[in-house]
């Protein structure tokens, strides 16, 4: 059974600082997804990572994948309030999800 672990589960960020969310998974997978969920809303796709060493960036978010370490990171640069949300990673063909990281950005 594919297990996906995210940490931290809760992250309080100060505006302007940098932070990283980690996603570990238990078995080999050739793809990893990051999603964002705003309170009361559905999930929105952020990144799809398809190969070892893949790096994708969108605005202040950058995601990377190390398939050998079974690890993906979501790096947040110079946090702003608009990034407050819950972030999920998901792995595998039928998508096993992590528990999510709830991010709150404070002034």
């Amino acid at each position: 059974e594919l297990k996906v672990e995210q940490n931290p589960l809760f992250l309080s960020m100060q505006e302007g600082k940098n932070y990283t969310i980690y996603c570990n998974y238990s078995t080999t997978s050739d793809r990893l997804y990051w999603y964002r969920q705003d309170p009361g809303k559905s999930l929105e796709s952020l990144f799809v990572l398809l190969s070892n060493g893949a790096v994708k960036q969108e605005g202040r978010l950058m995601a990377s994948l190390d398939t050998k370490a079974r690890l993906s990171t979501l790096h947040i640069t110079a946090a702003v309030h608009d990034l407050s949300a819950t972030y999920f990673c998901a792995v595998g063909h039928w998508l096993s999800f992590g528990a999510g990281t709830t991010v709150t950005v404070r002034a």
Binding site: S45, W94, A99
Partner: protein, 113 residues
Amino acid sequence: DVKVTQSSRYLVKRTGEKVFLECVQDMDHENMFWYRQDPGLGLRLIYFSYDVKMKEKGDIPEGYSVSREKKERFSLILESASTNQTSMYLCASSGTSGYNEQFFGPGTRLTVL
């Protein structure tokens, strides 16, 4: 844009009632999924379907059934609702080519009293 719609945003039912949750996608996707989302547990897959009339159990199928009579529509059925089925239910769809990413509907918040 892919659009996935769900029949209700909020639903309140009583214990023992039969509950139908409907999901429709407009992108001709082969795959459709039903998840439930509970705080601290992330999304857990209930059932998925990779073709019309085909279905596969996910991680937590007990107490649920599904129906897919048409490609664009995937229904989740709670045969006899129980209070522990109070949750947010999310439907998603994906194609078989490209990135295989799933596109999600807005969710149905079901409360069983």
